[in-house]
Amino acid sequence: MGGDELELIRRSLDGDKDAWGEIVKRYKVSVFGIALGILGNPADAEDAAQDAFIRAYQGLHTFHLDKRFSTWIFAITANLCKNKLRRDRLFAPLKYVTRATKSHHNPEARLIEDERAQMMREALDQLSPKYRMPLVLRYYGDLEYKDIAEMMRLPEGTIKTRIHRAKSELKKILEKKGVTSHA
């Protein structure tokens, strides 16, 4: 962690909200990305990102200054997303089932993505959250297996297995869609 980031965190611990605002500015894109990767719905992801930063500030004393801040904030975000998915599954099964299609309604958003990425996103949407979450944390969030395991309260081996299976599944889906290697 950079010295000035550490300083921002220390100032935040002392109640300096502007310092925390600076932290939010630095991490908002990646935190939003994690939430969007897991939830798939931009509105929900936006709420989750905002909630994650507020909760992180409230619990800042539990952050170990010797750890990567990104790992910590991503873990908070992922947990919020997990809870959100669980609530949705319990209270509105239909909403959960259809979440995969919700994010495709913005035509502008579609234009920005290239075709391969769009196929990949559709493939990701087909995965169950228990596979998608570790995948997003590992390859977008750049988290270590052990951090994901700790966050999801599962053995590291289980996480590795889930990521392996998720990748095999993605390959199959993409191959069916005709996506091949660039190489």
Binding site: E46, A117, L124, Y139
Partner: protein
Amino acid sequence: MHEHELEQLIKETVAQHAAAYQDRITDLEYRVVDALPDRPMVVEQQPVWPMRLALATAAILLFLGGFWLGGTLSDGPPCADPYVLCLVYPNAKSVSLVGQLTQWERHPMNGPDRNGIWWIRLPRDLEPGRYEYGFMVDEYHWVHDPRAREFVHTFDNKINSVLIWPPSQGDAP
């Protein structure tokens, strides 16, 4: 598709998806700051006891002959006391003080109280000096003391908190 290419594509896909909706988070920092509570930490409150009960308890504690014993009988952590180290960690199953004060042995802390505060009383005869320490949460998590005024980096860049004794005036306890 190669493994590496697949992983790269996952990363790019999520990044592109997020970029497509970036306008949603343009002013996120302002919204977050507006919604923040005043302090990030749960500020420990001294238990507010009725005066009589407080007096009676104080008398009993004095009778039992020691502040140290008083600390263990009291039902709230006296975190404002400079002789007491506190850590707010509601989800922990156990917290120990580990450091030069304990010859790096784990000394279990009291708690948690209803606010998730763990605490431990320092010896009354603590010699003046600098003492490095930290908290071991659930047997293996090394946690620094956010209330410490100094920190040093040690193994694996883990951080030790430093207790400067006696605390100078104006320092947090």
